[in-house]
């Protein structure tokens, strides 16, 4: 799960990190007074989950309160396009008005999971404000790394090593050590998957602030992070993906035209891959769950077909413990249910069933009122779906 910058800064502040003074608003008229309170200068920052807001025109400096109001008015409601939003952009619903600080140096500080070491990894760099992945590519030596013991947290000598490695001493070094400790505690105690301060800034007096903040959380841990769950902003998520998650279905919208319904994540990815090998593009990733129950199949159909780009559907189910004939009945019942609801399935549906009782399963499909295209392997299923797509596109 992702959250906004102002929410991440709120959490960091709770863990003792210094962040600039700021206030989030959804009405541009509020900007003027806030800017005045900050001494007449401020920064107006669009709050969307995607990165690259500055380059997209979502972060601007106001040199007086009137300008703050004008900029807030301009940014609020805009469709902000960044390299992470896709061409349609993301609507800005809130802006953060923040005090403008004198930046002397920009650093990077972040914690994430090191999968190979199976521990949290603290990273710091003097190249702040840049994409850390680019720094890692172009100048890997510029990144300081400390593996964190999950049971002990960051140790004082590690924080000292980071501060001195970044080239600081005295009061600034102590402030860096303190924010390092805050960031690691935030990561460990909120079940974050990423805490990133980029840039971490040092002002002309040598004081340290988190100028930008990004936090992602482990979805598996949300059951014990109630405060974090409350920060969820569904406006930032694809509505179909939200609906799918409510039905226990894992769905990710893609750009192609063959809708996929598969049981199991690995098989679902493999099904997308084989569609591409046969010359078409998958419209989605969809895992209906291991058992592929009738309810899950019906919901999955509704979700796949609400994507107008879908011109054909490929169902690939490996019936393991769940018997294939029962799954086939579920598929037929789901199609009947959709027809009865006035939303009949109007695109070709290729079904590949394999596993326990597969003969009976195929029988059920062939006897149904609906004209399924039944395939007997992954390759022929993909081939048949791609052909059905081409016929349909040629015929329309």
């Amino acid at each position: 799960m992702k959250i906004h910058e102002f929410q991440a800064k709120g959490i960091l502040r709770r863990f003792g990190a210094a962040v600039p003074q700021g206030q989030v608003i959804d009405d541009p008229a509020q900007a003027k007074q806030i800017c005045e309170d900050f001494g007449g200068r401020c920064v107006v920052k669009a709050q969307i989950h995607a990165g690259g807001r500055g380059k997209g025109g979502g972060v601007k400096v106001a040199s007086n309160p009137g300008e703050a109001e004008r900029l807030a008015d301009e940014i609020l409601g805009m469709q902000l396009v960044t390299h992470q939003t896709g061409p349609e952009g993301q609507q800005v619903r809130q802006v953060l008005i923040e005090e403008a600080l004198e930046i002397d140096q920009e650093l990077y500080l972040g914690v994430t999971l090191d999968r190979a070491a199976e521990r949290p990894l603290l990273m710091a760099s003097r190249s702040g404000g840049m994409d850390i992945e680019e720094v890692a590519q172009s100048d890997p030596g510029a990144i300081l790394r400390e593996l964190i013991d999950p049971l002990l947290g960051v140790l004082p000598f590690q924080s000292r090593r980071i501060a001195s490695g970044l080239g600081f001493e005295g009061g600034t070094a102590r402030q860096i050590q303190s924010i390092v400790a805050s960031v690691v505690r935030t990561y460990l105690e909120t079940d974050a998957s990423l805490v990133e301060i980029n840039p971490l800034m040092v002002d002309s007096k040598g004081d340290v602030y988190a100028l930008d903040a990004k936090m992602n959380f482990d979805d598996n841990a949300l059951f014990r992070q109630r405060d974090v769950v409350e920060l969820r902003d569904v406006h930032e998520e694809n509505p179909l993906e939200v609906e799918a998650s409510e039905h226990g279905i894992s769905y990710i919208k893609l750009d192609g035209s063959i809708g996929c319904m598969v049981n199991g994540a690995g098989l679902a990815m493999a099904t997308m891959d084989i569609i591409k090998l046969y010359g078409a593009e998958p419209a989605n990733f969809l895992d209906v769950g291991g058992s592929a129950s009738q309810e899950a199949v019906a919901s999955a159909f509704r979700i796949i077909l609400s994507d107008p780009a879908v011109e054909a559907v490929l169902i690939n189910i490996f019936g393991g413990i769940a018997r294939t004939d029962r799954i086939a009945r579920g598929v037929v019942a789901a199609i009947d249910e959709l027809a009865a609801d006035g939303t009949p399935v109007g695109v070709p549906v290729v079904v590949r069933l394999e596993g326990t009782n597969v003969e009976e399963g195929r029988d059920v499909l062939e006897r149904a009122d609906f004209d399924f295209l039944v395939a007997d392997g992954m390759a022929s299923a993909a081939e048949s779906a791609v052909e059905a797509l081409k016929n349909r596109v040629a015929g329309s």
């Binding site: 999971l113 891959d273 291991g290 490996f318 992954m378």
Partner: protein, 290 residues
């Protein structure tokens, strides 16, 4: 021959009084696995479907001599269940549970260091040595005893591979699902080492997916140490970057962990990489000259 599980496996099921736990305890027993009972705290002393139930793994181990456990405990309590089994000295811990917080697994891994237990999973289908022991949730009947080892991060995609092998007339020594989470107990290399030491394993199918670097590490190991043919498939060539594809560990992050990188690393180590998931079985046949 086989690895990890076989005729000497004495299995308990943690969470045996739950719906899933009981269903699969019976499934394993029906397959022929020696299921000696299970554990549910607070329900010790009772029996369910003929299985003895204990309050703790320690007690279960003392009274049953179990050497393997299969865990179906819900995510908030699963890490504790794993550590309890390790503390009791159970040799093989197989955790099916999906949805365990990553930081719980980081702590579990720290706890397991220096202890003698091996953890498989979590978020995995388990493992099976055909005709000897099934310790997991896979459909037993699609398997056949034979000479191909299977290792995978996936569930149903593993069944797909096994089904292809069986239809090619190629049986399996042992099929091992290592799970789809970013932090897991047993790696590809751990299993490859065991297959390398198993004389009856004449070929290996390795099924990876996007995310992390486990396949690249496996490739380096295969290049140096493994003499039998390995057929590899990596799921997720069409997955968009930055999105988690169902499995918690299946994500291309920061341009790393792509299918293309993994396939290239495997191919460079001599692995026979197939682009089509429909060709895994046929490629093994070909490699074995059948």
């Amino acid at each position: 021959m086989s690895i990890l599980v076989g005729e000497s496996t004495r299995l308990i099921v943690q969470g045996i009084t739950g719906r899933e736990g009981l269903f699969h305890a019976m499934g394993c027993r029906d397959y022929g696995t020696d299921v000696v009972g299970g554990v549910t705290p607070g329900k010790g002393g009772s029996t369910v479907e003929g299985f003895a139930v204990w309050n703790s793994v320690e007690r279960a181990r003392r009274e049953s001599g179990c050497n393997a456990t299969l865990i179906f405990v819900p995510p908030p309590f699963a890490a504790d269940a794993i550590m309890e089994a390790a503390d009791a000295g159970v040799e093989l811990i197989v955790c099916i549970t999906e949805g365990i917080p990553v930081q719980d697994m980081v702590r579990v891994k720290a706890f397991l260091r220096g202890r003698g237990s091996r953890l498989l999973g979590p978020n995995c289908p388990g493992l099976i040595t055909p005709d000897q022991a099934k310790v997991g949730i896979m459909p037993g009947h699609i398997h056949e005893a034979g000479n191909v080892g299977v290792i995978s991060r996936s569930g149903t995609l593993t069944y797909e591979a096994v089904w292809q092998l069986t239809n090619e007339g190629l049986g399996q020594t042992t099929c091992v699902g290592i799970g789809g989470d970013p932090v897991n107990g047993t790696s590809f290399i751990d299993v490859l080492e065991l297959f390398a030491g198993d004389e009856s394993t004449e070929a290996v199918v390795l099924i990876g997916e996007i995310g992390g670097t486990a396949e690249e590490e496996a490739a380096a190991w295969i290049g140096e140490h493994l003499d039998v043919p390995v057929v590899g498939f990596i799921a997720g060539a069409t997955a968009p970057p930055g999105r988690r594809m169902g499995h918690a560990g299946a994500i291309v992050a920061g341009g790393k962990g792509t299918a293309a990188e993994k396939k290239a690393a495997l191919a460079a180590a001599g692995v026979l990489v197939v682009d089509s998931p429909a060709e895994m079985g046929a490629r093994v046949s070909e490699a074995l000259g059948r």
